[in-house]
Structure formats: structure tokens, C-alpha cells
């Protein structure tokens, strides 16, 4: 179909009055769309899929401080998580942002200790992260759906561009899994570890672990699971009866943080270690 300048202006004029400009333009140029098929439009065929992503952590496999550090660093470097320090080099707890970190037993599982427990047990380190709850309180309270539960695989995600920074989710999360960007995180991201493949956040938004949704989409396991000591972390589909996480959770004694709150955490801690699954 061809038209002269006069005809074009006529149609464009009328259609813009009617607000149809865009549809007319695309209707007259169907070839614009035909040639363009960026690979992003379809999911990666290698993507890992599940109905309910879940994690089992066997703390007995984590023996040294280095084991914990390796896991946390793998995550934090990959996701450009800033590391704010006070002038004397300690962690700046006022600005601190963390996705996965070490917490002592008495803090990871408050009120579960007993008066006779040895200090070494009370202070036994546990890895903690977002629990990707089945019934997440953070999602319930978010006023903009900036944090939401993916219906396909249960991952609790963040939309950093929609978050208004009201921090209701931080008040609601019973696990302290969420961090807020009290200031621009850029200056606290070590250029040595900066990952140009992953966005840094802006000030004024909340962030947390995403179960490495971006890696799953590319067919890779979460970074922490890869960095963990052998048999330390399992990740899989809890809804699939044959999966490794399901087998452990079914046959072995596992505990979850604050299960009595009804949030349904998807991170399980294996008790008793040794051989499993």
C-alpha cells in the first residue's frame, strides 16, 4: 500500500485526533515487527523450573568461617550488595545490607535455647536468608505489589523500580531478611567485585535474596548453593515427590525458623547431618 504525502497527512491528522496514531502506524508497517525477534522474548530453554523452590541447609557441613564467608561473598559479589563499613573497618550496622549471612543459633531461632545449653551451642552459626515463604507477610503488606510471590515457582521477588521505600515489608518480615538502601549503595560496592551483569540498586528501595531468579532463568543453581561445601545446601522443587529437597524434608528431621507464625518458610535446616537423601 502506498500513499502520497497529502493522503498520509490526512490519515495521520484524523487518527491522531482520534488517538489512533499508534495503531495506524503499526497497521501500515507490519514488517516493522516481523524482522525483530530478540531472544529475550522467550524463556531460555535451559531455564530451571519448579512449582515450589525450596532449600535445605545442613549446617554440619559448614566447618570454618571461610565456608560461611565463601557463600555470603558469592551472593553479595554477584548481586552488587554493598558492604558499608564504619571508619574503624567494622560492619556499619546502621547502613548494613545483606542477603545471606551468619547468625548464631540463639538469634536465628530466638527462645529455643535452654538455660543449660553450652555457649558453643547457643552461638553455633546458622546461615539465614529470605525464606521465600508460602504465605509471605511482606507481600501481604506491600502497598504497590513491588514485592510479590511468583505464581509459577513461589519465589518472593522485588520490583526495585516500583518500590516506594515505605518499609512496611521490613516491619512485617519476621526473619529480618530485608534491607533498605538508606543511601546510595554505589560507593560501598567494591569495584574489584562489581558485577556489570547485574544492576545495582538506587537509594530508597528495599532489597533481599531472590533465590537467584536470574541464574535459574539461565539454567544455573543459586550462587550460594554452588559456593557451599559439598552437601551443605540443597535446592530443588519441594512440590516434586522425587526431588532431593523433598526426600530430605520427608525422611529426615528438619526445622524451620518461626514456623508457628504461619508464614510457611521454604528454607529448611537439616538436623543430625551425615548421610542424607
Amino acid at each position: 500500500m502506498s500513499m502520497d504525502r497529502r493522503q498520509f497527512l490526512k490519515i495521520a491528522g484524523i487518527s491522531s485526533v482520534l488517538g489512533l496514531g499508534a495503531s495506524v502506524a503499526s497497521a501500515t508497517h507490519p514488517t516493522w515487527v516481523k524482522g525483530l525477534e530478540p531472544p529475550q522474548v522467550g524463556p531460555d530453554p535451559k531455564a530451571l523450573k519448579a512449582k515450589h523452590w525450596a532449600m535445605v541447609i545442613d549446617m554440619s557441613r559448614f566447618r570454618t568461617d571461610a565456608d560461611f564467608k565463601k557463600v555470603a561473598d558469592a551472593c553479595h559479589h554477584l548481586h552488587n550488595v554493598p558492604s558499608f563499613k564504619t571508619p574503624d573497618g567494622k560492619v556499619d550496622i546502621k547502613n548494613e545490607i545483606k542477603w545471606i549471612w551468619k547468625e548464631t543459633y540463639e538469634h536465628a531461632f530466638p527462645h529455643q535455647d535452654n538455660p543449660y545449653m553450652e555457649e558453643s551451642l547457643k552461638e553455633k552459626p546458622f546461615l539465614v536468608l529470605c525464606n521465600h515463604c508460602e504465605n509471605p507477610a511482606c507481600v501481604r503488606v506491600c502497598p504497590t505489589k513491588a514485592t510479590f510471590k511468583r505464581p509459577d515457582d513461589g519465589i518472593v521477588m522485588m520490583d526495585m523500580h516500583r518500590c516506594i521505600g515505605c518499609r512496611f515489608c521490613m516491619a512485617a518480615c519476621p526473619y529480618g531478611a530485608r534491607s533498605f538502601n538508606w543511601r546510595d549503595p554505589r560507593p560501598a560496592i567494591d569495584p574489584k567485585f562489581e558485577n556489570k551483569e547485574y544492576p545495582a540498586r538506587t537509594k530508597g528501595v528495599v532489597e533481599k535474596c531472590t533465590f537467584c531468579a536470574e541464574r535459574l532463568a539461565a539454567g544455573k543453581m543459586p550462587a550460594c548453593v554452588e559456593a557451599a561445601p559439598k552437601g551443605g545446601m540443597f535446592f530443588g522443587d519441594l512440590a516434586k515427590p522425587g526431588s532431593e529437597v523433598r526426600k530430605i524434608v520427608t525422611t529426615r528431621l528438619t526445622i524451620r525458623r518461626k514456623p508457628e507464625l504461619g508464614t510457611g518458610p521454604s528454607v529448611y535446616y537439616l538436623i543430625g547431618g551425615k548421610d542424607h537423601a
Binding site: 547468625e103 538469634h107 504497590t144 516500583r162 518500590c163 512496611f168 534491607s179 537509594k203 518461626k258
Partner: protein, 390 residues
């Protein structure tokens, strides 16, 4: 009518400029926060709400308390409130504006605030809070402006405003109930997870709001020719006494549940606030100040002999307002965050810029209040002696 706010005595202009200066100081500090981020406050990932949200919560109560004048006047035909009801409605307007500003300054990404309306999320209490607060602001502006406008012309207000007045009664209850629901439904925050939270909020609101009104009415009488009426002020004193009694009783119920059950999670925040926890006693002096002021003011208000003497009534009103401002505008919020979700004590204290921003928001509120009261008082001075049936 707004032109009445443009003429005034030297004292009036000095007061307005004083507020203007405080607003300017707040604004400069806010611009700093806007560019740097909320890191200029004392907040952290452990105590993620503080002074701003505390002030917001407290002021929702002040706003809701206008209903304590509207109910007696419009539902029970208590004529003595005829002249003073406008002061309550305009106080509600100023308080809601402060509430919205406190929410605004607390946002990490304030330019995205319309996302709350662009992506309406009914399961979030904030969505409802924004709705009811905006509606309540609108109701009180319309009701206040229309009734005072009619008074000025010495005619009864138009009939269509009556349904709005009746609607404003449940609406006032709703704003504070919804605000309580921000806190009372969060798993793991034992200090807030209490079914009595909304009732407590309303009781403290109906004590704090009318005590502020008593103070304001006395100031208005002293500085202008408009007399809100001795009996109206006395009636307010009675309302404050009842509401404060309910509030102290409700707080007692919280203590009973926490300490008779002996559940550590329920006790720890109270212990932190009133005794100190793990060596942290930052809030103890404040909370005890609040408690002492509460007992003293309630004790004074309960005796009609003391209440009837206006000087003592004013003292009790100031003491009570201060007590509840500490308890609800600060302790209630911080107590919910300490100890944190890992059961660690990480204290919070507001920084100087944060406090100046809060002061700036209060000044905006008092600026709006001054303008509105100036209009209302000017009309009242002109129509002195004329009784109009509303």
C-alpha cells in the same frame, strides 16, 4: 474568606513568620534527605520506622478526635459545642495534612508515591490508610469551610452538608482503626500483635486530641475576642478524663497479658521500654516521664474540683498531651522494633536533621491551623451574639 488570614496584628504576623522560618529549616533539611537518602536519620535495618511514623500515628489520633465534638453537637444536640465544633474540624484538617507529610518524608522514593494509587493493592493496609485519610481531609475541609461560610452570612448551612457531617463520624473512627491495623496484624511483632490495639489507639486519640483543643481554645480566648465558651471547655475536660481513663486501663490490659502469661516475646519490648534490656536503657527516662505525666494528669482530671479551675485544667491538658505524645508518637513505634527479629537489642535515636524535618512538618500543621483558625475566629468575632442553628 481566606482574605481574613491576610490581615492581623503584629503578634499574628510574628507568629506566622516564626512558623515560616521553622518550615524553611525543615525544608532545607528535607532537601538534604531527598538527595542523600533516609540515611540522614537514625533508622537502620533493625529499627526501620522511627520518629516520622510515630508522629504520623499520633497525629491520626488528633485528627480523629474532632469526632468528640461532632458527636455531642450533631447527634446529641449539645448546643454548647456550637461555636467550638469548627475548631475541632479545622484541627482535623491540619492534623491530616501533617499525617500525609510525615508519610511523605518517610518514603525512600517519594517521587513514586502515586504508585499506591496507580497499583491499588487492597490487601495492603497502607492502601486503605491513604484512602481514608484523604477522604477524611476532604470531608473536614468541606464541612468546616461550608459551615463557617454560612455562619459568616448568618444563614444556616446548606442541607447537603448534614449527610457529610454524619459520614464524618464513622470515617473518623475508621482512620484510626486502619492506622492501628498497620501494626496489629504483623506476625512476629509481639508488641503490636494485640487485638486491643485499635481500641487503645482510639482511647488515646480521644484523650490527646481534645486536650490539645482545650489548650487551643484557651489560647484563642486569650488572644482574640472570640470566646469558645467556659462550658464547652469544661465538657471537653470531662471527655478527656473518660478517654484517658480508658487509655490507661487498656495499657494495663497489655501489661497483664504480657506479664501474667510470662511469654518472653510479649514481655521483652515492655522491659526494654520501661526497665531496659541487655544494658540498653535509652528509652526508660522518656517512658517513665510519660507514665508519671499520665498518672498526674488523669488524677487531676478525675476530680471535678480541680478540673473546673481553668489554670489547672490547662496544666493537666499539657501534661496529658505530652504523655501521650511520648507514648504513642515514639515509644509505641520503637518498642515494636526492639528487640529485633533476631532478638537483638539495636537501639534507635533520631538525628538532628530528622528532628528538624519533623519540626518542620509540625510547623506546616500549625501554619495551616493558624490560617484556618484566623478565618474562623474572624467570622466568630463579626457574628458575636448571633446563634445559628446548624
Amino acid at each position: 474568606m481566606l482574605e481574613k488570614a491576610l490581615v492581623g496584628s503584629k503578634k499574628y504576623w510574628m507568629w506566622v513568620s516564626f512558623l515560616g522560618a521553622l518550615i524553611l529549616v525543615g525544608l532545607v533539611n528535607y532537601l538534604h534527605q531527598f538527595s542523600y537518602g533516609l540515611g540522614i536519620t537514625g533508622l537502620s535495618r533493625d529499627v526501620s520506622w522511627g520518629l516520622y511514623i510515630g508522629q504520623f500515628t499520633f497525629l491520626v489520633g488528633v485528627a480523629a478526635s474532632a469526632v468528640m465534638l461532632v458527636i455531642p453537637y450533631y447527634l446529641h444536640d449539645f448546643k454548647k459545642f456550637g461555636k467550638i465544633v469548627i475548631l475541632g474540624e479545622f484541627l482535623a484538617v491540619a492534623a491530616v495534612i501533617m499525617c500525609q507529610l510525615f508519610i511523605f518524608v518517610d518514603m525512600g522514593q517519594p517521587t513514586r508515591i502515586l504508585n499506591v494509587m496507580l497499583h491499588p493493592t487492597p490487601n495492603s493496609i497502607i492502601f486503605w490508610d491513604v484512602l481514608v485519610l484523604t477522604g477524611y481531609l476532604f470531608l473536614n475541609i468541606v464541612i468546616g469551610w461550608v459551615t463557617i461560610g454560612s455562619d459568616r452570612k448568618s444563614v444556616p448551612p446548606p442541607k447537603w452538608v448534614k449527610p457529610l457531617i454524619y459520614l464524618s463520624i464513622p470515617w473518623a473512627i475508621s482512620i484510626h482503626t486502619v492506622t492501628a491495623f498497620l501494626y496489629a496484624g504483623l506476625p512476629g511483632r509481639h508488641f503490636w500483635l494485640s487485638a486491643i490495639m485499635a481500641a487503645r489507639f482510639l482511647a488515646s486519640a480521644f484523650a490527646a486530641g481534645p486536650s490539645l483543643l482545650i489548650i487551643l481554645a484557651l489560647i484563642v480566648r486569650k488572644t482574640t475576642k472570640f470566646d469558645p465558651g467556659k462550658e464547652a471547655i469544661q465538657a471537653l475536660g470531662k471527655i478527656v478524663a473518660y478517654a484517658m481513663f480508658a487509655n490507661v486501663f487498656f495499657l494495663g490490659l497489655e501489661f497483664f497479658t504480657a506479664f501474667y502469661s510470662q511469654i518472653p516475646g510479649h514481655m521483652e519490648s515492655f522491659v526494654y521500654l520501661y526497665k531496659g534490656l541487655e544494658g540498653h536503657t535509652e528509652l526508660v527516662p522518656l517512658m517513665w516521664t510519660s507514665s508519671v505525666l499520665a498518672v498526674v494528669s488523669l488524677g487531676m482530671l478525675l476530680f471535678p474540683g480541680i478540673r473546673r479551675r481553668e489554670g489547672l485544667l490547662a496544666f493537666a491538658a499539657v501534661a496529658l498531651f505530652t504523655s501521650l505524645w511520648i507514648d504513642k508518637g515514639f515509644g509505641l513505634i520503637i518498642g515494636g522494633f526492639v528487640p529485633n527479629m533476631m532478638n537483638q537489642v539495636r537501639p534507635y535515636w533520631p538525628t538532628m536533621p530528622e528532628s528538624l524535618i519533623a519540626l518542620g512538618v509540625w510547623s506546616v500543621g500549625f501554619f495551616v491551623l493558624t490560617i484556618l483558625y484566623k478565618v474562623a475566629v474572624s467570622v466568630r468575632e463579626e457574628t458575636a451574639g448571633i446563634e445559628i442553628e446548624h
